[in-house]
């Protein structure tokens, strides 16, 4: 089971937790939204959960100013979620490997 990160344009990221709908995958969706409710990053505008994905809309300018100006906002957001998944992994709330889908970035 793996998590795939996809950009949704230049101001959002879609976290894909599976490709078919199941209770197990939807639980993961909820684990992530609960985490975001408890620890909302200041650059997050809002999140939209679905059956197998969570999409996070963010403020790229705020990200660029607050964090590494050398890094592009999407990379900072990916780094943030990789850290979140490893925290959740340690807590055994989510058990996954993260891959970044760079197909659409070519």
């Amino acid at each position: 089971m793996s998590i795939v990160l996809h950009p949704l344009g230049d101001q959002a990221i879609t976290i894909e937790l599976g490709t078919t709908f199941s209770a197990e995958i939807f639980t993961k969706v909820q684990v992530i939204t609960m985490y975001l409710d408890a620890h909302p990053p200041i650059w997050m505008i809002e999140y939209v959960p679905a059956f197998t994905t969570v999409t996070i809309f963010y403020d790229p300018f705020l990200l660029s100013n607050q964090y590494d100006q050398e890094k592009l906002p999407y990379d900072v957001v990916c780094g943030f979620f990789e850290d979140v998944f490893s925290v959740l992994n340690e807590q055994s709330r989510i058990n996954t490997n993260v891959t970044k889908n760079n197909k659409e970035l070519e």
């Binding site: 949704l8 344009g9 230049d10 809002e46 679905a50 059956f51 197998t52």
Partner: protein
């Protein structure tokens, strides 16, 4: 206060959108042309998020009941005050009793009118935007009609200083500020300017032919286009193999392709989620061009990398920040 003495085609109160509720299925709404809206606000000394009037294709006639600082940005709908043409992209001090009219739509299709202090309408779920279909927000949840009267919010210090400076010059019909928005921030609405699009997450699932057509052929904006989305017609886009898609979030500028093969660009009044494959996403810097394109016109898409799109967005935001600081310094 203003009175709408003649309604135009579609004039609504909008701000930067109703965010934070899309997870409950609440539509974001907000202005179609974010840049024009933000610049209009900056020109009158407002914060960028204050509500403006989004004026579409045929403008209304508006009477002003007090002296007020205004700015009109975005598409050129031939605005005039008391019969005299008035420049867009500038601060303008309007005299009490004046009448603002719009004429032929020369460039683009949406103009934004900001007034010092913004328009005073109730806040509904953190926003003053009008969502027409649900009749939520804005002015009674609907487009403005003849006879409607709108009040202004409280002007800030910056607006008052700007107004004082203009008041020192003799008050004829209206007074136009000497400074304008830097030209690099004013979008150029030219036909045949390709819209830059980032490949969507389902791009590679389309046939090679469809992938090619998407970036090399023209698409018409059909009359079935509105604030929710533009329905396009052109070469039919098909998936390599039929696949069942799972409902997921879409954004402002997502280009999805329903089973009939005709793409739709999702805009301000989009649903928060969609089930169709995403062939692309309009780069944020080019959303202003989409907002100003009208039915009957042709769109061309060109590919931009995700990296470049982010870079251009940050660059434009920095230019806006420079302008913002420049205005504050100027009226210190």
């Amino acid at each position: 206060m203003i009175t709408i003495t003649k309604s135009g085609l579609l004039t609504t109160v909008q701000d930067l959108g109703r965010y934070g509720f899309q997870k409950y299925g609440v539509i974001a709404s907000g202005v179609m042309d974010t840049i024009a809206h933000r610049l209009a606000n900056l020109l009158v000394g407002n914060d960028e998020y204050l509500p403006t009037l989004e004026i579409t294709l045929i403008g209304p006639t508006i009477q002003f009941h007090k002296n007020v600082l205004i700015a009109i940005c975005g598409g050129d709908l031939s605005p005039s005050i008391n019969g005299e043409d008035v420049q867009s992209w500038r601060s303008v001090l309007v005299k009490k009793g004046s009448i603002l009219k719009f004429g032929p739509c020369k460039k683009g299709c949406r103009a934004y009118l900001a007034v010092a202090g913004g328009f005073s309408v109730p806040t509904v779920m953190n926003s003053k935007s009008t969502y027409l279909r649900a009749r939520v927000g804005g002015f009674n949840g609907r487009a403005l009609q003849a006879g409607d009267q709108l009040l202004f919010g409280q002007s800030g210090k910056l607006s008052m200083k700007m107004q004082d400076e203009l008041s020192e010059r003799s008050l004829t019909n209206f007074i136009v500020g000497k400074w304008s928005v830097p030209s690099n921030l004013i979008p150029i609405f030219k036909k045949d300017t390709p819209i830059r699009v980032i490949k969507g997450r389902n791009f590679h699932q389309f046939t090679k032919e469809s992938q090619k057509s998407f970036f090399y052929e023209a698409f018409f904006i059909t009359p079935q286009s509105d604030r929710m989305g533009y329905r396009l017609s052109g070469p039919l886009l098909t998936l390599e193999k039929e696949e069942e898609m799972i409902l997921e979030a879409v954004g402002f500028g997502t280009i999805q392709v329903p089973t009939n093969g005709n793409p739709i660009i999702l805009l301000a009044d989009r649903q928060p989620t969609g089930v169709y494959p995403k062939i692309g996403q309009v780069a944020s810097v080019d959303l202003t061009l989409i907002a100003q394109a009208k039915p009957g016109e042709v769109l061309l898409f060109s590919e931009i990398s995700h990296r470049e799109a982010q870079f251009l967005y940050l660059q434009r935001e920095r230019q806006l920040q420079i302008l913002k600081h420049g205005i504050i310094e100027k009226f210190k």
